[in-house]
């Protein structure tokens, strides 16, 4: 009998790996107002030293109202002020992980009112948590905001599969499959590293991104899950070359 056979009865077990938080980072960056011509955007960025010599996984949240409300990275705050015109691209933060640093970006778009465009400068506050990547080497863990980093009272997410695979998708459509066979739809996280697509899209092809960032921008990428598998669908039909990179996917037990 294994503890993994009775995961739902277990709040914590040292034999079941967790994400291992390596540090948290908070700060802010100011982004100027974009112009008032059609679809104008200003992107600000900040490089945050992590003192961790390798890339790590991460998740972040941001606020543009002084910390009153927080939104996940890769989310835009939909603006319905000027109905029937709905602004879908407004303010958003996203990030990349590189050796020794995070590079965080903040997009600030103007908004169409129906008769013109309005724009404003914003101070983006951010909070980012770093956690270990598969194959993480030696690290010096960084400070976290709260005094206790671990408590056996908490039901930490329990990792079932910690997958890393290098891909080389040819021109055309590809569906890659990661089997989990859990019998239910599990929670997952997915990241892509050294993604060749980033270079042609104004991104950094040497950095690690939340794969959700690319899902949110392009309909040629899909990531979906059922009771048996995790599926990655890539439509590289219009690409001039193969798509390469490394996918990290973490599949969690449901309890």
């Amino acid at each position: 009998m294994s503890v993994r056979d009775h995961v739902k009865d277990v709040a914590f077990a040292a034999s079941i790996p967790t994400d291992m938080i390596l540090g948290t980072f908070t700060g802010s960056l100011n982004v100027a107002a974009p112009g008032t011509v059609a679809t104008a955007k200003v992107t600000g960025s900040v490089s945050v030293p992590t003192a961790i010599p390798e890339k790590t996984l991460f998740q972040g949240i941001f606020s543009i109202d002084g910390g009153v409300t927080w939104t996940d990275f890769n989310s835009n705050l939909v603006n319905n002020t000027y109905l029937p015109n709905v602004a879908l691209q407004t303010q958003m933060m996203y990030g990349t992980s590189l050796a020794g640093r995070l590079v965080l970006y903040a997009d600030n778009w103007n908004i169409y009112t129906g008769s013109g465009f309005v724009a404003a400068a914003y101070t983006f506050q951010y909070k980012v948590v770093l956690f270990r990547i598969k194959g993480q080497g030696d690290v010096i863990s960084q400070p976290v905001g709260q005094r206790l980093n671990f408590s056996a009272r908490y039901n930490y997410q329990k990792i079932y599969i910690d997958s890393k695979f290098d891909f080389n998708f040819a021109i055309g459509t590809t569906t890659a499959v990661l089997a989990h066979n859990l019998g239910y739809v599990p929670k997952i996280r997915s990241y892509v590293d050294n993604f060749s697509f980033a270079a042609g899209s104004g991104g950094d092809s040497t950095a690690l991104y939340d794969f959700g960032y690319w899902l949110s921008l392009y309909n040629i990428f899909q990531l979906y899950i059922d009771e048996t598998n995790v599926y990655y669908y890539i439509d590289n039909s219009l690409g001039g070359s193969n798509l390469t990179g490394t996918l990290y996917t973490r599949v969690y037990f449901d309890s």
Partner: protein, 127 residues
């Protein structure tokens, strides 16, 4: 202190992401016709306070498919003659879901009824 993370299954000094809260809800997008270039919007929200928490969200379009899609901010799904775009964001202690159907064809398109199923999970981070 330097930790050899690669050799560790567990370390008492390194916590994980603690399960904190979750919601599961859905709303119906009724069958409708889109004229050329037309977009329809459908909105829903649910109480979910994400203060000092990070989240993962999964979206399923029932009646069109049986899978759940990993969603980080936005999903764009191309179904040939139309697209379904879903945006997720937190505001005022609510999780907001905005789903749009977009005509991608050169003529009018009838979008069948489907249900937007939302699963959202919050995790405490030691910010």
């Amino acid at each position: 202190m330097t930790l050899k993370i690669g050799n560790l299954q567990f370390a008492g000094s390194l916590g994980g992401l603690a399960n904190y809260d979750s919601v599961s809800f859905n709303f119906t997008v009724t069958s409708h016709t889109l004229a050329v270039g037309e977009v329809h919007e459908w909105r829903s929200n649910w109480v979910l306070d994400n203060t000092d928490a990070i989240s993962t969200i999964q979206i399923s379009y029932a009646e069109l498919e049986t899978v759940y899609r990993y969603c980080s901010g936005a999903l764009v799904l191309n179904l040939g003659t139309y697209e379904i775009e879903t945006l997720t964001y937190y505001k005022d202690d609510l999780l907001h879901i905005d789903t749009f159907t977009v005509n991608e064809s050169g003529g009018s398109v009838t979008v069948p009824e489907f249900i937007v199923n939302v699963r959202a999970f919050l995790y405490n981070a030691p910010f």
